[in-house]
Structures are given as C-alpha cells and as structure tokens.
Amino acid sequence: MVREEKVLLVGDNPFHGISHLSQERSRVRGDAPTNPEFAAKLIGISVENGADGFMFSVSEKTLSILRVLREGGVVNGLRLYAIVPYAYGYVRLAGEVGGVPGLAKRVIKEISLSGNFSAMAMGLKGLLKADLEDLVKTYLAYEVSRVRSSAGKNANLESVMLHQLVTDMCLGLGLDWFFRLYVDFMAKSGLRPGFNTGNFCLLVRRLREWGVDLGEVVVAAPFNRVGFQMVPSREDCEKALADLPGPNVFAISVLAAGYLKPVEAVEYVAGLPNIRGVAVGVSKERHARETFRLFREKLV
C-alpha cells in the first residue's frame, strides 16, 4: 500500500472570528486572530511546524492576509485552497442592499469595476441573453482573479471549492447541471474543482448519480471523533468515505470547533481511509506550533 503524506492546511475560521462550537467562544478568543498581520504570522508559524498551505473563504479579510503573506515572501510556498463565495458576507450584504436582486446588482457592479475584461464581456453576454451559465462562469472567473491579484500570479492556487452553503443548497435543489458546469469550468481553468459540504454522504451519492468523476474533485467535510456536524451520522460518513475511489477528502472540523484537543483529534483522523489532508484553524502562536507539529508527526 502506498502511504502518502497528508496535506495540512491552515483553516480560516478564527481569522473571520468564527467558532462553530459557540459564538461565546469566538468572543472570548478576542480580536487578535482577525488582524491580517497576526493571521499571516500564525500561518507562517504553522508552515514552519508542518503546514503545507491555507484553506480560506475569499473575503476582504483573507485577501488582506494573502497580501501580507505575499509581501513577506511566504505565499509562493503555500498550497492555496480557496472557497467561494464567502456566503456570510453575501448574505449580510443582501440584507443591507434589499435582498437578492440588490445583491445581484452590487456583484455586477463590483465585477464591472474589477477591470477583468474577459469576465466583464462574458457577464454582459450572460445578462443580455439571461444566460445563467455565462453568469456563473463570470462570477467564478471574478473570484479567481481576486485571489490571484492578492496572492500574486506565481501563487500555487490548487483548488477553488464551492462554499458549503452553495454546495448544499444546490445539492438539495438537485441542480446537477450546476455541479457539472462548475467541475468543467474549474478543470478548464487548470484548477481542481472542490466542494465544501455538510452533507458528505449525499454529495458523494449524487455526484456518482450525475456522472461526476469523484477522482477529479476534492471534498472538504467534517470528520471528528465526536460526530460534530457529521450528517446524517458519523458511521454513515465513515462508510461513504471508505467507499471512495481514492484519497480526495479534506477533513475539516477535526477539532470539533475546539471541543477536542489536537491530541484527541489526530488519532481519529489518522485512522480514516481516503483522507487527502486536513484543515485546522489556529488562533494563537502556541496553538499553531503545537497543532501542526503534532499533525505532521501523526498524519502520514
């Protein structure tokens, strides 16, 4: 059996002030991790101790972090996994600008101001012909260009993943055409398509039904000892994982949002099949050092 080193990624939840265990926990943690300079420093420490890259939602915050990493000469050594769209930001914006139509107008305006002429041309065509596929491609091209302009053209952007809210909403709605479109577009862009999901079993089942090659995509989904956010159950998720054709899954929420200590979490993940890597958030320098040193040592 070939034993591969796992890809260890720094997750971005603490940098957005998120704790999926409780909001109280993120309030107690304070503002320090949300400072781009400090976040970039945490990523640097994580890399020194075994991390390979950064998994992040594309937001103004994480783009600022990428710019700091670029200025510090760190970014080109990182494997980048971007998640789009930053759903929380867009939901909040929709509330401020008058719902979904207001949001659409704002995004179109931002794309127009971005100076990405090919995206603008495709978007204009999409708008005039009410062609949804062109509009989706325009939006994805816009998000990729945001990452590249912040991280630099030489940055190693390996994958652009669909945000959990979008993946799961499209999954529930049964939008097979959207999944195929997304996979095709990313593959043509030279990027590995990916899906962040809270419904790992259902996603795997549907992708198979829709003829999407599971070997060509990566999936980020919760895997942890206590079954935190594992739907419909830990056992079902483990079985679906074991049935995959290869190691294309990134385990997220491995610490159950801080409920588990790294030493408790790593043994469980180390025993799972078909895990390509792990994304873990860190909020303190000591966390970064200890967590990635431990995960690098245990995850082979």
């Binding site: 409780s22 909001q23 993120s26 401020e96 659409a104 529930g172 709605l173 049964g174 956010q229």
Partner: protein, 328 residues
C-alpha cells in the same frame, strides 16, 4: 407532496432546498415579484413553474405553500392562499403578520379553512432550546422565579445615521426579538408587558434596540433585551437565563447549562444533544422545522408553532411598541 414557495429571497431558497431533500416532497412552483429573479429562476429550476402573482398558483395544483416574503406582505399573501382556494396547508415565515390585527385574521382564516398552519419560529427546533423546554417542563430547576432573555445580532453594528443602509422597517422587536418572545411563550405560557423602551440608533425613525419587562403566570418576572447593533454577534443569537427555586438554567443557540442548588453543574453543546439531521443546510433546526410541517400535512395533524401561537407573538410585539410609544 407538491409545494409552492412564495418569495425567493434567502429564506425562500433555503426552504426550497430543504423541502426538495425530504423524501416524497417536491417544490413544483415558485412565486416572486422581481422580474430579474423570475427570469433566472425559470432557468435554474428546470420543470418548476414560476409565477409573478400569488393568485396564479391556483394553476399549479399544490398541497402546501410556504410564504417567505418580507413580513409586511405575509398577510396579503396568506389571505389570498385561503380565499382563492390555492392551499389550506400554509407555512409562513416569522412573524405571522405585521400586527396583531392581521395575525388574528389569519389565525381565524386558518381555523375556518382547516389544514395545517405553522409559523417559522425555527428556534423551537434547535436542540438546545428543545432540551431547555424539556428540563423546565420536568421542573428540574423547581418553580421558575425570573428570567432574562436576549436576541442580538451585529447586523447593523457600527452603522451610523450617515450610512446608506436599509434597516428592516418592521424594527428589531418584530424582526429579531420575536424569536425570544416566541420561546418565552413556549416556555412559560402567557405574558403581560409591564414596561418597554425602544431606541433608534441607525436612523432617526428606525427601531434598533429594545428593553422590555414582562410578567408571566404565577408572578414570574422576565426581562428582554433586543438589538441588532451589538458587536461580536456575527450570527443572530437568542438566549435565556432562567432562575428557579432549585437552580438556574442558561441556554442559547449553541449551549445549555444547568446549575442546581446542590452545587452540580451540567453543560451540553449541540453535538452532546444529538444535533444531527438527514440534510444539513444553514442550521439543523431548519430541516427539523420543515420535516415537522411536512409530517403534520401527511398525517393530518396540527403543527406547532401554529398561527394561533404566531398571533400571540404579534400581540406581545404590538403591546411592546404601544408601551414604548412607537405605535402609529
């Protein structure tokens, strides 16, 4: 079961997706006033009928309708569903209506027409609040003596009067505080408003924070605090601290804690309370909520929270605004 969804904002999309993931349920019709949205909805949802006006839903032959439009239009849409004979199984997102007068009429219409009626007070389906309800009903903290409750978000934190931001004109009590009011009614029964204060922060005419004193049956005293201008509440959060004769219970969206007078302390996070569902979108309680409505329609039994429950929340909100001098 064939379902139509009226109003395709974020809640319409969320419910449509969850409903479609429930076995034997199919979203067959959508309705939205926005031309732009209708144009794209028809392309996104292949095979689903898309309408501009709620009256057109009579062509879609549906078993149930979800109303997820902005609050001011709930009354008109729900009334049309009954009066036009489109469906008698109706789910309305919170709050049921814009005021008690409208809510009472919808409650009575639902009673006259039969069918299942439900209001989207989703926190009743969150594992922490469900477990809190069970512990309170079992008298684990003895007789409740007092409670304090809050509903906070950072939606408009840091937004000042110079910013061009659209604040929901229904105000913070109806938009956010309603969750805590519904939970208090569920936990403790009837409430009477003793005092209320509503403040403007974001604009001169907006209602952005509120403080309310209430009394429940048996002399239980309670306080509410609502605001959408609070820092570090990235997601809207509701919570309660209930003091009882034998201990205290504190609960919010994430955690439940029990402190008894014998010194014992118990704490549960969501996953300690088996917070798992068949399909996860947003939060697990959204799936439980929709599944409850669907099951009630299939079995022909009544759902909770019903229009009668929702109308009671609207009555309390009217009373708060009246006490605070905010009623037009």
């Amino acid at each position: 079961m064939r379902v139509a969804v009226v109003g395709m904002g974020k809640m319409g999309l969320l419910h449509s997706s969850i409903l479609n993931a429930i076995p034997d349920v199919e979203v067959v019709a959508l309705c939205d006033k926005s031309f732009l949205l209708r144009r794209f909805l028809g392309k996104v949802f292949k095979g689903v009928k898309v309408f501009k006006d709620v009256n057109e839903l009579s062509k879609a032959d549906v078993d149930a309708v979800y109303v997820t439009t902005p609050i001011p239009s709930h009354y008109g849409v729900a009334k049309a569903l009954y009066s036009e004979g489109i469906a008698s199984n109706v789910f309305v997102e919170k709050t049921l209506a814009l005021n008690f007068e409208q809510a009472r009429e919808l409650r009575d219409l639902a009673q006259d027409y039969g069918g299942v009626n439900m209001v989207g007070y989703v926190r009743r389906f969150a594992v922490t609040f469900r477990e809190a309800k069970r512990l309170l009903d079992e008298g684990v903290i003895g007789e409740p003596v007092s409670f304090s409750a809050y509903a906070y978000s950072s939606e408009f934190y840091g937004v000042d009067k110079a910013a061009k931001v659209r604040v929901p004109r229904v105000g913070v009590v109806r938009d956010l505080g309603c969750y805590a009011i519904d939970l208090a009614l569920w936990f403790f029964g009837e409430l009477e408003v003793l005092d209320a204060e509503v403040k403007a922060v974001v604009s001169d005419r907006s209602e952005d924070s509120a403080r309310v004193e209430v009394e429940a049956s048996g002399g239980l005293r309670g306080e509410f605090s609502f605001s959408w201008c609070v820092d570090k509440h990235r997601m809207p959060e509701a919570g309660f601290v209930v003091e009882g004769s034998e201990g205290a219970l504190s609960v919010n969206d994430d955690k439940l804690e029990l402190r008894l007078k014998d010194g014992s302390v118990s704490r549960w996070f969501r996953h300690d309370l088996k917070d798992t569902v068949d399909f996860w979108l947003g939060l697990p309680e959204f799936f439980r909520e929709d599944k409850h409505f669907v099951d009630c329609v299939v079995r022909g039994c009544s759902a909770e929270p019903s229009f009668a429950d929702g109308a009671e929340v609207d009555r309390i909100i009217d009373e708060i605004r009246c006490r605070a001098g905010r009623y037009g």
